[in-house]
């Protein structure tokens, strides 16, 4: 029977949750790197025992950890993220220009084919790549030096590159998202980039339809149909059917279209999941109810999924990297909350159960489906 391994990043360490294909009984290991912020950990699709983790601390900075045995043991690898060439400036909260400054790694995205190649999305926003298993990192500087970069600005969490999508059908095509700049696409393995924000509308910036400056919270794709992208923006749930060239809103009947994560069912490319949050100034669930919303029509029409989730007095948030799906049938859906709960649905969202209730605040959730 298959095994499911859920990799949890929290404000105070990493946890690994393991179950069989039934996804009912769980083994919990951790905390790994106790006391450190673990923004993200993720496994290589090419070698399920190769894991990468971003470990950081306001005191001691950034550490990258690598495991070659599925998370049993870890080694610190390279953590030098030096911007290449002249460090330019970007827009600061007060309207002035401010030099780029490294803060942390938000997201690690291992290559689809090579366990030693991994991408890192960092704050202040830039994309780095390692091709030696994380020992050394090189910036793909064409992104940070894009002519629009002086107009990028930090969201409330900092100016972070938080999403990296590698297109399995078009070698060299990479999508990234930055808060608050928007989506960019490279078709040449990261050398050059184009903004992909046509159709987005953000009332929080002077020109609501500007080429850059949008606070994109997350984008997601189904691996069999990579030209279709889904987006949870600051406000608005969006969809692109042309690899990001244009976007249209699919918020439909959601109770609020503010939120952070968005993900796609493993076997149904038109089935997507979001967790609506009350507003940009109230980062908690509306009406005290924890509801995942599912659309089976690629947006517009949404249903609330509530079975097994608290429906009163619940005021947690679900952060952008804190939702994932497994590859089993029926598809498992997982998410973690800022209150430290991790929930699983083993039936594509119809019903939910907590795996753990009392972890530190959850920052990221990834899932491996192992044979």
């Amino acid at each position: 029977m298959s095994t499911v391994r859920v990799l949890i990043g929290t404000r105070k360490g990493a946890f690994v949750l393991t179950s069989d294909g039934k996804r009912e009984g769980w083994d919990v290991s951790g905390p790994h790197f106790g006391g450190w912020e673990i923004y993200h950990l993720k496994a290589s699709p090419a070698d399920p025992n190769r894991l990468y983790a971003s470990q950081s601390s306001s005191w001691f900075g950034q550490v990258i950890q690598r495991s070659n045995d599925g998370g049993k043991t870890w080694d610190a690898v390279g953590n030098k993220f030096a911007y290449e060439g002249a460090v330019g400036t970007h827009l600061w909260y007060d309207g002035t220009q401010r030099p780029w400054e490294f803060a942390r790694v938000w997201h690690l995205e291992p290559s689809l084919t090579d366990p030693d190649t991994v991408y890192a999305g960092i704050q202040d926003a830039a994309l780095f790549r390692s091709s030696d298993g994380g020992q050394t990192w090189q910036e793909l500087a064409g992104l940070r030096t894009h002519k629009s970069a002086p107009l990028w600005q930090p969201g409330a969490g900092g100016m972070c590159l938080h999403t990296i999508l590698l297109d399995p059908s078009h070698p060299g095509r990479i999508f990234i998202a930055i808060s608050a700049a928007g989506v960019f696409r490279s078709d040449d393995a990261g050398k050059t980039w184009r903004p992909m924000n046509r159709g987005l509308r953000s009332e929080q910036i002077p020109d609501p339809t500007a080429e850059v400056g949008h606070c994109v919270h997350r984008i997601a794709m189904h691996r069999t149909r990579p030209d279709v992208l889904f987006m949870q923006k600051h406000w608005d749930v969006m969809r692109s059917d042309d690899a990001g060239e244009s976007w249209r809103e699919v918020s439909g009947n959601l109770p609020t279209d503010f939120g952070f994560p968005i993900d796609v069912h493993a076997h149904e490319p038109e089935t997507i999941y979001v967790v609506p949050i009350k507003s940009d100034s109230e980062h908690y669930l509306p009406e005290g109810k924890l509801r995942v919303y599912r659309s089976r029509t690629g947006g517009h029409e949404w249903e609330a999924l509530t079975k097994g989730l608290p429906q009163r007095d619940c005021y947690v948030n679900v952060l952008r990297d804190a939702m994932a799906v497994d590859a089993l049938d029926p598809c498992g859906v997982y998410f973690g909350t800022t209150g430290g709960q991790v929930y699983v649905s083993a039936d594509a969202g119809d019903s939910w159960a907590p795996i753990v209730r009392d972890l530190p605040s959850v920052v990221s959730v990834e899932v491996q489906t192992l044979p």
Partner: protein
């Protein structure tokens, strides 16, 4: 022999149980001690000083002999008691946060 005491998180990161004893070549300064420390324990690079500028990280302090040496020049000689090993060089995570 210079003794260096690291904060708990860095001892864990470097797989250390207690204080570190270092043979530092040449004049003992903050810079030479940290250079030696990082050469022996590469996983500590970037956690005490910035990897590029070698500036002390903002929430890290250096104490020795009941003195805060954090704002001393990195090339200033360390106190004799640290050089002789009578007193340790303390790397401290600043009291911050909650």
């Amino acid at each position: 022999m210079i003794r260096v005491v690291l904060p708990a998180h860095l001892r864990t990161l470097a797989h250390l149980d207690g204080e570190v004893k270092l043979d530092v070549e040449g004049k003992a300064t903050q810079r030479s001690v940290l250079d030696t420390l990082e050469a022996c324990y590469p996983m500590l690079r970037g956690t005490i000083r910035d990897q590029v500028t070698h500036e002390r990280r903002a929430f890290v302090r250096f104490f020795a002999c009941q003195e805060d040496l954090s704002h001393e020049s990195p090339d200033a000689p360390l106190p004799d008691a640290v050089v002789s090993g009578a007193e340790p060089f303390l790397v401290v995570g600043a009291l911050a946060g909650g």
